[in-house]
C-alpha cells in the first residue's frame, strides 16, 4: 500500500479537512467572516480572544490593554503572550476577524498535532496503522475536544511542538547527520522549547525532563556520543538563555509572583489532585478499548524487536511517560487541572494503541482468508466505519454545547455598542446578563455582576425590593492576578531584574474610590464610579427588578444610551448623587 500514493495522500487530506470542519463548523456554522466569537463557553475563551484582539489592533504585545489593568495605560505585559502574537499576526494575513481566527487557529493546531503523529506512525509502524490512527485522531468522541471549546487553547499551541521534538529526535537516531545539521537541529530544539515557555510554560515543565533524560539513555546505549549530548545541551542553553533572562523576571515578578515556588505551584499544588469536576473523563469507548488491549498485546509480543529499534523505543517510552504525566495527579499529587489536560492533548499519541489493534486484526483476517491483496479495500472500509460511527455523535454534541452557550445576539449587540461607541477609558458596570466575563470583549474597564455569584445577587435583590443601592457589588473583569486588584503594575523596566514606575490599580485616580480586593466581590463602589451600566431587563427571571433600575435611573437624571429587545445601556450622569 505504501506505493499507492494517491490513495494515501487523498486519505490524509480528506481526514485533515474533515477534522477541521468537525471542530469548527458546529460553532461557526461555517461563517468565518462573522464578527462575533464562535465559541462563547468560558472565561479562558474570552480572555484569549480579548488579548489577541488587543495585539491585532495595537500591533504590539509589549503593553497590556488599559481595560485589562483597571484603566492604567502603558503596563508591561507579564503573561506568556506568544500564542496571542501568533494568532494576531496570522490574522493580519487574512481578511477574517480575530474573533473567528482565535478559535480557528486552535482547530488548525489540533489537526497539526494529529498530522505529526500520523507521520511518526507512518515511519515507525507502517502506513495502515498511521491511516487508522489518523482517522481515530481527527474524528474523536466529542469529550476529547473539551480543552478546545472550554478555553485551554494555549495547550494546543505548546503541545504542537512536542511531536516535532520527538520526530527530530527519532530522525537523529535513524540517520547519521552532519555536524552542521546537528547544530541546526539542536538550535531548532532550543526554539521549540522557548515556544513552549513563552506560550504556556506547563508543557515545558512536564516534558523537558523527558527530552533531557532520553538522549542520556542513548548515550548509555552508545547510539549517540557524550560529546554530541553536551553540544546539544550547550546549543539549547545558548538559544534559550536570552529569552529566559528577558521574560522570567517579568513573569516571576507579577504573574508568577513567588518565584520558583510559584512555578512549582503551576503544576504541583493549589488546585488539588482530585479529578476536576467540570472535566469529562478522558476515555476510549468500548470497541477502542478492546482494540487497545490487542494493540498493547501486540507491542508486548514484539517487545524485543521494539527495543532493538531506537526510534520505536523512543516513541513507546514517550507514550508511557505521557500516560504517567496524565495520571500524575493520582500518582504524585500533581494538580489535576494540569495533569488531566495532558491526557486530552495526548489523545493523538494514545490512538496508536487501538490503531495497532485494528491493523493487526485486519492483517490476521486477510491472511486467514488468503486475501492479502485486499488490504487497501479493508483499510478503506475501516476508515469509513470510523467516520460513520463517530462523526454524527460528535457533531451533534458540539452543536448542543454551542446551543447552550452563554451569550446571544442581543447581549453581543450591547457589548459591541460599548466597544464601538464609548471612549476607550470609560468604565462600565455590567449589572446583569453576563457570565464568565464575556463583558471583557467590550474592551473597557468593567465590573461585572454575574447572576451565578452570590454577592452580585445582592445588587439584584436590592433592586427587587425597590431599593436603589448606593453601593454596587461586583468583580473586576479582565483580571491579571490571583488576588484581584491586590498586586501592582509595572510601567517601566530598567534592567534585567529591575523595574520602576510601579503603580497600584487606580492610583492615578483622584476620585477616592479604591476597589482593590483581596477577595472576589467583598468590596463595592458607588454607581458614579462608572460611565455606563449594561443590564439585561428581559428574560432574566428578575425582569421587574431590571425595569425598576432603568426607570429609577432615568428619574434621577441618568440617561438611556441604547437598548434592544433584551438589553439596555444607561449613561451615568456623575453629578447625580446616587
Amino acid at each position: 500500500m505504501e506505493n499507492d500514493k494517491l490513495f494515501f495522500i487523498s486519505a490524509v487530506i480528506f481526514f485533515a479537512f474533515a477534522g477541521l470542519v468537525l471542530r469548527n463548523f458546529p460553532f461557526s456554522q461555517g461563517n468565518l467572516d462573522k464578527t462575533m466569537p464562535p465559541v462563547i463557553t468560558s472565561y479562558d475563551v474570552f480572555a484569549n480572544t480579548e488579548q489577541t484582539k488587543w495585539i491585532y489592533d495595537s500591533e504590539q504585545a509589549y503593553y497590556y490593554n488599559q481595560a485589562r489593568t483597571g484603566g492604567i495605560e502603558g503596563v508591561i505585559g507579564t503573561h506568556p503572550t506568544l500564542y496571542y502574537i501568533f494568532i494576531a499576526t496570522f490574522t493580519k494575513l487574512t481578511t477574517l476577524p480575530v474573533y473567528q481566527t482565535a478559535y480557528l487557529t486552535v482547530n488548525i493546531l489540533s489537526i497539526l498535532i494529529i498530522l505529526q503523529l500520523f507521520a511518526i506512525f507512518n515511519k515507525l509502524f507502517g502506513a495502515e496503522t498511521a491511516l487508522v490512527a489518523l482517522a481515530i485522531g481527527t474524528i474523536p468522541a466529542h469529550y476529547w475536544l473539551f480543552p478546545m471549546y472550554v478555553g485551554f487553547q494555549y495547550d494546543y499551541f505548546t503541545f504542537a511542538t512536542i511531536p516535532t521534538i520527538l520526530f527530530l529526535l527519532v530522525h537523529r537516531l535513524e540517520i547519521n547527520i552532519t555536524r552542521t545539521q546537528r547544530i541546526m537541529m539542536y538550535t531548532l530544539f532550543g526554539f521549540l522549547f522557548i515556544e513552549q515557555f513563552l506560550g504556556h510554560y506547563v508543557e515545558l515543565i512536564f516534558y523537558a525532563p523527558f527530552f533531557a533524560a532520553l538522549p542520556l539513555f542513548f548515550v548509555w546505549k552508545k547510539t549517540i556520543t557524550i560529546k554530541e549530548y553536551t553540544t546539544a545541551i550547550i546549543v539549547i542553553t545558548l538559544i534559550m538563555t536570552p529569552f529566559l533572562l528577558y521574560f522570567l523576571p517579568l513573569t516571576i515578578k507579577d504573574h508568577l509572583k513567588g518565584g520558583i515556588k510559584a512555578i512549582q505551584g503551576q503544576v504541583s499544588s493549589g488546585e488539588g489532585s482530585k479529578h476536576v469536576e467540570y472535566f469529562p473523563w478522558p476515555r476510549f469507548d468500548f470497541w477502542l478499548n478492546i482494540f487497545s488491549i490487542i494493540g498493547i498485546f501486540t507491542i508486548m509480543l514484539n517487545f524485543k524487536r521494539n527495543l532493538q529499534s531506537s526510534q520505536r523505543t523512543t516513541y513507546l517510552l514517550f507514550l508511557v511517560y505521557l500516560i504517567i504525566i496524565g495520571f500524575s495527579n493520582v500518582l504524585f499529587n500533581i494538580s489535576a487541572n494540569r495533569a488531566e489536560r495532558q491526557l486530552f492533548q495526548g489523545y493523538p499519541f494514545l490512538v496508536l494503541l487501538p490503531a495497532l489493534g485494528i491493523t493487526i486484526i485486519t492483517e490476521l483476517t486477510l491472511t486467514i482468508i488468503k486475501k492479502q491483496n485486499m488490504t487497501r479495500i479493508a483499510i478503506t472500509v475501516i476508515l469509513t466505519l470510523i467516520l460513520l460511527s463517530t462523526w454524527n455523535n460528535t457533531y451533534n454534541e458540539l452543536n448542543a454545547i454551542d446551543d447552550a452557550a452563554l451569550v446571544d445576539d442581543n447581549k453581543w449587540q450591547s457589548v459591541v455598542w460599548i466597544r464601538d461607541n464609548t471612549p476607550k477609558d470609560s468604565r462600565v458596570f455590567f449589572l446583569s446578563g453576563f457570565e464568565h466575563e464575556f463583558s471583557m470583549l467590550s474592551e473597557r474597564v468593567n465590573l461585572k455582576g454575574d447572576l451565578n455569584r452570590g454577592y452580585t445577587m445582592r445588587n439584584i435583590k436590592a433592586l427587587c425590593q425597590k431599593t436603589y443601592p448606593e453601593e454596587y457589588f461586583g468583580e473586576w473583569a479582565l483580571r491579571e492576578y490571583g488576588k484581584y486588584g491586590e498586586e501592582t503594575y509595572t510601567k517601566k523596566r530598567t534592567g534585567i531584574t529591575t523595574f520602576e514606575d510601579i503603580v497600584e490599580p487606580f492610583q492615578n485616580e483622584n476620585e477616592g474610590y479604591i476597589f482593590n480586593g483581596p477577595d472576589r466581590g467583598n468590596q463595592s463602589v458607588p454607581l458614579k464610579f462608572f460611565d455606563y451600566v449594561v443590564l439585561q431587563y428581559k428574560g432574566t427571571g428578575f425582569d421587574h427588578c431590571g425595569g425598576y433600575f432603568i426607570n429609577q435611573s432615568l428619574e434621577i437624571g441618568h440617561t438611556l444610551a441604547w437598548f434592544n429587545d433584551a438589553m439596555a445601556i444607561i449613561k451615568i450622569n456623575r453629578s447625580v448623587q446616587k
Binding site: 495522500i9 490524509v12 487530506i13 479537512f17 456554522q29 461555517g30 461563517n31 468565518l32 467572516d33 495585539i55 500591533e59 504590539q60 504585545a61 509589549y62 503572550t81 506568544l82 502574537i85 501568533f86 494576531a88 499576526t89 496570522f90 490574522t91 493580519k92 494575513l93 487574512t94 481578511t95 477574517l96 480557528l104 488548525i108 493546531l109 497539526l112 498530522l115 505529526q116 500520523f118 507521520a119 507512518n122 499551541f157 504542537a160 511542538t161 511531536p163 516535532t164 520526530f167 530522525h171 535513524e174 540517520i175 547519521n176 547527520i177 552532519t178 552542521t180 545539521q181 541546526m184 537541529m185 531548532l188 526554539f191 521549540l192 522557548i194 515556544e195 513563552l198 529569552f243 528577558y246
Partner: protein, 119 residues
C-alpha cells in the same frame, strides 16, 4: 537554491489549499476573500518557512511539509515576539518580512548542510 523536485510539494500544498478555499467559498457562508486569504495565510505563515528550514535535513516531502508547520509557527512567532520588544509594530508588513527572512535563511543554510547516507 531549491530544486524542482523540492518545489513540487509546495506547489501541491498551495493547490490543495486553493481548492479547499474554493470548496469553502461554494459551500459555506464565508466570502471568497476570507477563504482565499485564509489559504494564503496557512501557506505563507504555517507551511513555507518551516519547509525551507527542513530542506536542510534528509526527510521525505510529506515529513518536511508536516513537521515544517510547527517549526514555522515557532520561528515566526518568536521572531515577531523579539521585534516587538524593540518596538517594531506587529503589522502585516512585518509579518511577511519575517516569513521571507526565515524562508531565505532556510535556503541559504543549505550551502552549509550537506546530505549524508542512512546509518
Amino acid at each position: 537554491m531549491i530544486t524542482k523536485e523540492e518545489l513540487k510539494p509546495l506547489i501541491i500544498t498551495a493547490s490543495i489549499l486553493a481548492f479547499a478555499a474554493l470548496i469553502g467559498t461554494i459551500f459555506t457562508p464565508t466570502s471568497w476573500q476570507g477563504m482565499f486569504s485564509l489559504a494564503f495565510a496557512i501557506f505563507a505563515y504555517i507551511i513555507l518557512p518551516g519547509y525551507c528550514i527542513l530542506l536542510n535535513f534528509n526527510l521525505t516531502s510529506l515529513e518536511r511539509t508536516i513537521f515544517g508547520m510547527p517549526i514555522s509557527i515557532t520561528l515566526v512567532s518568536i521572531a515577531l515576539y523579539s521585534v516587538d520588544i524593540i518596538g517594531i509594530p506587529l503589522s502585516r508588513l512585518t509579518t511577511i518580512t519575517i516569513i521571507l527572512i526565515i524562508s531565505i535563511i532556510g535556503l541559504v543554510l543549505r550551502k552549509y548542510t550537506t546530505t549524508t547516507s542512512s546509518s
